[in-house]
Amino acid sequence: MESSYLIEARQLAYKINEVKLFSNFSFTLKAGEALHIKGSNGSGKTTLIRILCGITPATKGEILKKDDLVFTYLGHKNALKTYLSIRDNISLLGLSKNEDLKTLLTSLNLQNKLDVIIANLSFGQQKKVALLRIFLSNSDLILLDEPFVGLDSASHNLLCKFLESRLNNGAGLIYTSHISAGIASKDISID
């Protein structure tokens, strides 16, 4: 049965120590769609995203992915080496040769700080460096867990514009956010 979904979840449930976190959670995401997962604190939004990434196994239910689905993920942790500079982190991620890198760094206001150690940057600046990986990726599916926290309004708008353009190019987006994102998306609640 031909289906243009990127990722589909069927009746996902998750338990910790036999205590149910959420159950019977299902959705379908097609190319070009954005899904906003809502829920109160502790309802399992982060766990759900990690289940979709494949890090955590779901207790029940199944996830169907398109063949060869490439996805990028940014969660609460930045995946940056705090004792290395921005430049070193970029080369560790293999992004130094990317042609969009220079313009991106300028628009994020980081072009003068390339040799600053990550630990010496502010929270928002670290978040921006972490988002570089998302900006410079070309994946089918983007998974973001609270991406807007700590961003100034310029970077917030930059991220929204980037996500919208990727959506228009046929990628999919699943994100959680307390802050309103300003992206046209389906809402689904996990409670």
Binding site: I16, N17, E18, V19
Partner: protein, 251 residues
């Protein structure tokens, strides 16, 4: 067609057997029999061994501690093997009951190893003149004891039980290497310990009149320890399945 039926039947059987509830009720029925039979065998063997066997040529009466020491040592190693097998079953087939079993064996194994070490020390005083010696078998049994303790502390330090089960399983399987080390250590390094008296191929080097009570005491002790393991596993099931309705009804 027959193959599909067979697969379904086997899966149902494993599923049923692997259910903690079934295990619990089966084991409850088995327990009194096991307890009384093993107790009888063990006491019989002890009395026979302590009172009705002749003096040893070299060691006199002090060798009789063998009826405590050898069963404890043998059971300590077998328990670890059982724990390792249970852990492997848990990792491969995801049978939760196997994880409960592995966790419940650990403290019992620690206790039995401790009995083996202490009884060995007591035996050592009249025989070798010392209660401790860093020879191969004693040291590797001490390592076994420490490993049991390590397994218990590893499992207890995690709040998430699923994670704790898996880590316990990995450690138990890797630590299994020390069982052949214990068995072979006496052959590889000359030490105070005597070589194994009972091997599979050769004739036993111990007198038959002492051998039979020894065998009986091993069987009896193994049965008693199995009872302890059953009790421990029941406690584990109570702890882990406490939210299930059948546990609430039972208690």
């Amino acid at each position: 067609m027959l193959r599909e039926i067979l697969i379904i039947v086997i899966k149902k059987f494993i599923h049923q057997f692997a259910s903690p509830k079934t295990y619990f009720y089966q084991v409850n029925r088995l327990y009194p029999w096991l307890l009384y039979i093993s107790l009888f065998i063990y006491l019989f063997a002890i009395i026979w061994g302590l009172l009705f066997t002749p003096k040893d040529f070299v060691q006199g009466h002090s060798y009789r501690i063998i009826y405590f020491h050898v069963p404890a040592s043998f059971v300590a190693q077998s328990l670890y093997a059982a724990m390792a097998i249970s852990s492997a079953v848990f990792l491969i087939w995801r049978v939760k009951l196997a994880a409960y079993l592995a966790r419940s064996i650990a403290p019992i194994g620690a206790m039995v190893t401790f009995i083996a070490l202490v009884s060995g020390s007591i035996w050592g005083i009249p025989t070798w003149g010392t209660w401790w010696e860093w020879d191969a078998r004693i040291t590797s049994t001490l390592i076994l004891f420490i490993m049991y303790l390590g397994l218990i502390s590893l499992h207890n330090s995690f709040n998430n039980f699923d994670k704790a089960d898996k880590l316990l399983a990995y450690l138990a399987i890797i630590g299994f290497i020390q069982i052949p080390i214990i068995k072979k250590s006496v052959d590889w390094w000359s030490s105070l310990h005597q070589p194994a008296s009972i091997t599979i191929s050769d004739k036993p080097s111990i007198d038959p009149s002492m051998l039979y009570p020894l065998f009986m005491s091993m069987i009896g002790f193994a049965g008693l320890v199995a009872c302890l393991v059953i009790l421990s596993s029941k406690v584990q099931i109570y702890i882990r399945e406490k939210n299930k309705s059948w546990v609430k009804d039972h208690v």
